[in-house]
């Protein structure tokens, strides 16, 4: 069991390092002063399934508020983190993530 545990830890460490290396590529092209998504022109939807950008309020109602009440307020400095967290928890697409970001930062 100890060997199994060691192998599991080693495997997870390798996965983590690999993910960080993968993340380093896009990270190298951005700085801490990157304008927030709300200030950027909405990215053109690449998916053939998505015909137009979705409304952020709709994305919020359909994905966040179905499970939990919305927080009464939170700092704008964590809006991007909240949206990324919801992207994982609610399986949001990139387009829906951007719509949600625009909703939090109109």
């Amino acid at each position: 069991m100890t060997n199994l545990l060691r192998k599991t830890v080693r495997t997870l460490s390798t996965i983590s390092l690999s993910l960080l290396l993968l993340a380093a590529v896009p990270m190298s092209s951005q700085t801490a002063d990157t304008p927030p998504p709300a200030a950027q022109k909405p990215a053109k939807a690449k998916s053939v399934h998505t015909t137009q950008p979705r409304d952020g309020q709709q994305v919020f109602d359909e994905n966040c508020e179905r499970c939990h009440n919305a927080p009464q307020s939170f700092s704008p400095s964590i809006s991007g983190t909240v949206v990324k967290h919801m992207r994982v928890r609610a399986n949001l697409s990139k387009e829906d993530e951007q719509a949600l970001m625009r909703f939090f930062n109109p």
Binding site: L20, A24, P26, P36, T50, S77, T81, S93
Partner: protein
């Protein structure tokens, strides 16, 4: 299995947590945008449960740490510090504390439709495990009786997931999640060797979600579990209807829950509008004995009547009464009274740039 039991089982090797969090922390500074400050969320609660005349107390803290690294990588973890104060026969009360990491995972956004997940993650079988287990979300204190089907042992897997959104537009949305988990009965890492996945279809206009889950246990005994869920939130009234059915090799069952926030009576912030009555009906059917699936040993029916009150400043009071009927020879029929006072918090880990 109640989520208290769930907490007790969810443990993680400190080394894994330290590895993940340290690697994340190393990369934070150069990559953060003004809105990507790591956050701490979660809840503090005080819960009580009276079963068969015996009252237990559960002070709990359940923090969540979320830390993005650039635009593609996100670390997140949820822990629980749970106290248990229970009556002991002839010896007053006995108190214990459990500190557990519920999950700790790294998420990599590969593209718009694919997210890779590695680490110690909640198993995406059914809806309760991933969506409703946090104490600041669940309307009722106890998990459904069928929770153990498809969520063997801890409901947490050590391995990886591929998940995301296949299609999302104004007419429908299809999401998926697949997982593979290594098995371990170690005290720190407790997970089963299994694989599985889930697909859900959501219809925004009808506000209806239908999904199905599959899990295959790959331990000594190979066992399949299947499940389906239906969620519906009518557009015109603040009603939530949630239901799940799950079928395992030795048992099956279902639960149906309705929550109705009375916000249509003078608004959500009025005295009446802050109330949320809840009703849950569930049944389990035992086909053959299995001491490991965490379902009742006999056919069981249970009804829960709850009333939650949403106070200002993210504070909530949950109350519920449940009556459980069992075909067990003795001690099967019990009354369960539960209360909880919960405060939810959400704040950045540090002050970001203006």
């Amino acid at each position: 299995m109640s989520y208290r039991t769930h907490f007790k089982h969810c443990r993680l090797s400190r080394s894994i947590a330290i590895t993940l969090l340290s690697l994340g922390a190393l990369c934070l500074a150069p990559a953060l945008t003004a809105q990507d400050i790591p956050l701490i969320s979660g809840a503090v609660g005080f819960l009580t449960s009276t079963t068969g005349g015996n009252t237990s107390y559960f002070p709990a803290v359940s923090p969540v740490l979320v830390a993005p690294v650039g635009q593609h990588l996100l670390f997140e973890s949820r822990a629980s510090i749970l106290g248990t104060v229970e009556p002991q026969p002839g010896a007053g009360y006995d108190g214990r504390f459990h500190v557990n990491v519920t999950y700790a995972q790294a998420n990599y956004f590969l593209n718009s439709h694919v997210t890779l997940v590695g680490g110690y993650s909640l198993i995406p079988f059914g809806t309760y495990n991933e969506r409703l287990t946090p104490i600041w979300i669940s309307a009722l204190q106890d998990a459904p009786l069928i929770f153990g089907i498809g969520n063997p042992g801890t409901g947490v897997g050590t391995g990886g997931q591929i998940r995301g959104n296949i299609v999302s537009n104004e007419n429908y949305s299809i999401t998926y999640a697949t997982y593979i988990s290594a098995g371990s009965t170690d005290f720190q890492i407790n997970s089963s060797r299994d694989v599985g996945g889930q697909v859900s279809v959501y219809l925004p206009k009808q506000r209806l979600e239908i999904g199905t889950s599959y899990g295959r246990l790959l331990e000594t005994d190979k066992m399949n579990a299947i499940g389906t869920h239906v969620w519906w939130e009518p557009a015109r009234i603040p009603l939530k209807v949630r239901s799940e059915y799950a079928h395992g090799p030795h048992s099956q069952g279902y639960w149906v829950e309705t929550d109705y926030r009375l916000s249509q009576f003078h608004g959500a912030n009025s005295f009446v509008g802050r109330m949320e009555p809840i009703f849950r009906l569930q049944q389990t059917f035992r086909n053959s004995p299995d001491p490991n699936d965490e379902l009742p040993a006999q056919n069981t029916q249970r009804v829960d009547f709850g009333l939650d009150y949403h106070l200002p400043h993210e504070v909530r009071i949950n109350t519920s009464y449940a009556r459980q009927f069992s075909s067990a020879n003795s001690g099967g029929n019990v009354n369960i009274w539960e209360t909880a006072l919960i405060y939810r918090f959400l704040f950045p880990t540090w002050k970001g740039k203006k």
